[in-house]
Symmetry: C2
Subunit: 137 residues, 2 copies
DNA sequence: ACACACATGCAACTAAGTTGCAAGTAAGAT
DNA sequence: ATCTTACTTGCAACTTAGTTGCATGTGTGT
């Protein structure tokens, strides 16, 4: 299934530019959270300025097309929001990241809307931290 | 209930110093996630060096006495690990933070240990992002 | 109260992310 | 097709977050 990022950007009333399409299709291809550094390397540092990447991920996050994730690595990671409700386990020794099946956070969101004084929940992030088998030997 | 941080530090075979006790008892008093900046202000910038605060939170996190939390504010927050399994909702417009009741992540941890190739789960973090009533007007 | 490994403070540094501004470009109007 | 204009990009300079090296200070076991 090929996502139509052009249509998605137009729907959000923002311009369709090569930078935005490059970041979106890279994240679609990789299907995992990437740092800004990895995004620049993948697109090519002659092809895009790092400031443009920062501005692009900030915009795409505000539009809800991508999601920011924090692995306690000292910098942010980003993945396609349409990957849905899946999460990660991070090894605190070697920084290895594995995937975790879907959780029931959607049900919690309903409770939050009732109780917390928030009018909308746009996203959530759930990360587990532990030690992978390789590091526990 | 007054926690005996001295005993906790000794049990972890590390030194009991004024800096460590100051950070731990501040976090116990506040009962909410604090940034390094807030920790320095609260303790007093003449009373503790900011490098010591960074080294202290890194150590206390490794010892499992405090927990690192990320609100997508551009810097880390820390709270007492003994506050247990509670989480947060963050307004993406004004950065307001509210608390959320306990989730069932402990059950998920059991599944992760079976399936993911990890031998230990030391912690997890669950943050919701949305828009608070004040910002939605 | 001694010795020594560990903790702290200071200065310098690296890494992550932001801002201002001039030049370039997407997209609607002609 | 070309024009116009507001939005986007690239570059340089900057701010903020966090780290490292080293000399001095201090907690803890003897």
């Amino acid at each position: 299934m090929q996502l139509d990022f052009t249509a998605q950007l137009r729907e959000k009333r923002t311009r369709v530019t090569p930078s935005r399409l490059a970041v979106l299709s890279l994240l679609e291809k990789e299907k995992r959270p990437l740092s800004v550094e990895k995004i620049i390397t993948a697109i090519g540092e002659d092809a895009i300025d790092y400031v443009t990447v920062y501005r692009t991920v900030t915009l795409l996050k505000e539009l809800g097309l991508i999601r920011q994730i924090d692995f306690h690595h000292g910098h942010a990671h980003y993945e396609l929001a349409s990957l849905g409700d899946h999460h990660h386990v991070v090894c605190v020794k070697c920084d290895k990241v594995a995937e975790v099946a879907r959780c029931n956070a959607k049900r919690m969101e309903q409770e939050i809307l009732k109780e917390s004084g928030f009018s909308t929940i746009t996203d959530h992030s759930l990360e587990f931290f532990g030690i992978c088998r390789n590091c526990s030997i």
